[in-house]
Point group: C2
Chain length 390, copies 2
């Protein structure tokens, strides 16, 4: 992929967005609208958690048509575990937003993120929605700001593909683990592409990005990855479009990992030589999710035996200890299953970088797999001890 | 079980133990010896991690005979990922310890716990072992002190069964997750029992205690649960003996959970009405291991939606959201899959206790399962960011 990201990110032609503070969070924007100038193809991946939020239930049904024109999202309250009232509230959000911009409610997707189990104060939400149309503009970061929860930075990236542009806007910081969609992520493009092709492109892109990401092993009840292609810019070569989706997905997944609650570092784990790809990915994830590996990265501590521990705890995977090798930041630290006498001060220094790469080779097969994670710090604890109360 | 624990704990007749500082840790005791006055039946469970330490490899072989008379354990360095040198060191530890107390080396079990991947300074270990025989005494807490790593308190419990006594000595704080043995735990009894019966008693006791315990999802490379029955006090009714093993196992597992790295609270999770016992236990474990549930307990924060999230992330288990109920400290917080309007200040107050109980009912079958865990605090991060260096 030689195409590069726009700096700053831009929305595709015909797309606009806006955000506003409606009172779900103390003062930051907590409501965002994204809108295309015409209905287009749509595809979506939704959380596999057994307790999907009302917007997930509603969105899954809507997605059957393969068509969307807008997305309305609130942050602060997730509308999960709210029963029939929650479903009615999601429907109202959809209808009020659709009416405000004069489109068919079936073309407006709802997303909600935030605390679980509390009802939405619909008067505030409805008042906020009515303020959005007059604020619509062309900065995707403005929309991204309206969907942040514990995110430290708004997240949007875009790139040009032929005559069209693909833009991804997302949020995510905690309660993130692989199992289909793992946060709120929206792709917008003015490219023309049928819903089925868009679905395939989205799924394959998520498979090598969002599905590799774990901040804290916890699978959210609210998460969705949705794509909307308006077609305004005409057809585009599918291979190039998929390349753009893949690049943007990985960029977004890494941005979420980097912004994991309390995180100071992104972790990239690569496992090679596993029995198969499934085992490679499982082992990579075990390393990325191990609290002891995560705190090792945070502490810049070359306590590399923890990597072996994490590989070894995958008891159902094929591992021959004497064949295992590992590198941290490119420095060999384990050979034949035994700690190498490496330069500890050098590795300690390299662990100071804001990206930590761990490579493990098992030498029992051809399976390769990756995982994306972050370190575990006091910040995660602080962030999560009084979330409902704050 | 009406029998009660001895306070303070005592060793069975004919057993003695000692600990000493040999220089693996900065100043605390780091070497312990436990010795019976005669060879006896033995049984053991060992970690399933793919990278077992040298003492695990050696111990598994020894256990085939079903006979032991003593245990020598060091803390500070785990002798894991140390290759052939590590195996030679474990053999030397066994031989030097056996010679010091004049028993057959095949009857001396070695245990090691601590940092992974560093060689044991055998001169210090050997000098330490030679000091142990003259210090042998009858206080099990003295031996327990010599095997502590990040433990805050030494752990030993005992109870009387007929004419005999059963004593358990253990250590564990971090790198603890279910998969056979999950820490160093030694049972000593003067009861007479054959190795096969002892093995069954030990396995069934571990199944309902150590196998339910997860401090941080990480499975240690060093862990063992071993029982040694000298027979000095003669035969004992097996049912009563097993009851004692079960009570002591649960007491020890909860003591380890309570002493989890940085922990301020013990978590007890009970799941009922699951499709089967396997799913019940899996869901209980998902709740006990969820970083968001753990921080909720630490923060005394009635953010109970996180319990639903943790149940819901078990995508492979049967869950019907509308049937799910949950209680926290006996207060109903979830009914029909929806958050109940409960007294938040009351639950906040109850979460201030040092034991947090969460009960979940799924109402889809008869499966019951439990898990034991602890909260997640800044203390865990502090403990694990510079362990190798400290």
């Amino acid at each position: 992929m030689t195409a590069s990201f726009d700096r700053p990110p831009r929305l595709p032609s015909g797309f606009r967005c806006a955000s506003v503070h409606c009172g779900l969070k103390p003062k930051d924007p907590d409501l965002a609208l994204f809108l295309a100038d015409r209905p287009g193809s749509a595809a979506g991946l939704f959380t596999r958690n057994h307790f999907p939020g009302a917007p997930i239930v509603q969105g899954r049904e809507q997605m059957v048509s393969g068509r969307l024109q807008g997305v309305i999202v609130n942050a602060g309250i997730s509308n999960v575990a709210t029963g029939s009232r929650g479903l009615a509230d999601a429907r109202t959000m959809r209808e009020v937003a659709a009416r405000a911009v004069e489109i068919d409610p079936e073309l407006m997707l709802v997303g909600s993120t935030g605390v679980i189990g509390r009802p939405l104060p619909m008067d505030r939400v409805e008042a906020g929605i009515r303020k959005l149309p007059e604020r619509l503009g062309d900065d995707p970061l403005e929309g991204a700001r309206g969907i942040m929860t514990t995110d430290r930075v708004p997240k949007a990236f875009s790139m040009v593909v032929g005559e069209s542009r693909v833009t991804v806007v997302g949020k995510g910081a905690g309660m993130i683990a692989p199992n289909l969609a793992t946060m709120l992520v929206y792709f917008f493009t003015d490219a023309e592409v049928d819903p089925k092709s868009l679905d395939g492109i989205l799924r394959r892109s998520a498979e090598e990005s969002f599905q590799l990401l774990s901040v804290d092993t916890d699978t959210s009840t609210s998460d969705m990855v949705v794509a909307l292609a308006s077609g305004r810019a005409g057809p585009v070569e599918h291979g190039a479009l998929e390349e753009a989706f893949r690049s943007l997905s990985l960029q977004m997944a890494e941005a979420v990992g980097r912004d994991g609650e309390g995180a100071t570092k992104l972790l990239r784990i690569e496992v090679a030589g596993a029995a198969d790809a499934v085992e490679a990915r499982r082992i990579a994830r075990a390393i990325a999710e191990s609290p002891l590996v995560k705190t090792m990265a945070y502490g810049r501590d070359p306590n590399v035996g923890r990597i072996l521990m994490a590989v070894g705890k995958c008891v159902e995977c094929r591992v021959v200890p004497e064949r295992v090798r590992a590198q941290v930041q490119g420095v060999e630290v384990i050979r034949e299953g035994v700690r190498v006498d490496f330069d500890e001060s050098r590795v300690r220094e390299l662990l100071g970088r804001d990206e930590v790469e761990i490579q493990v080779s098992l030498d029992v097969g051809e399976g390769e797999g990756r995982a994306i994670g972050c370190d575990l710090t006091e910040g995660y604890i602080e962030e999560n001890t009084a979330y409902a109360s704050s």
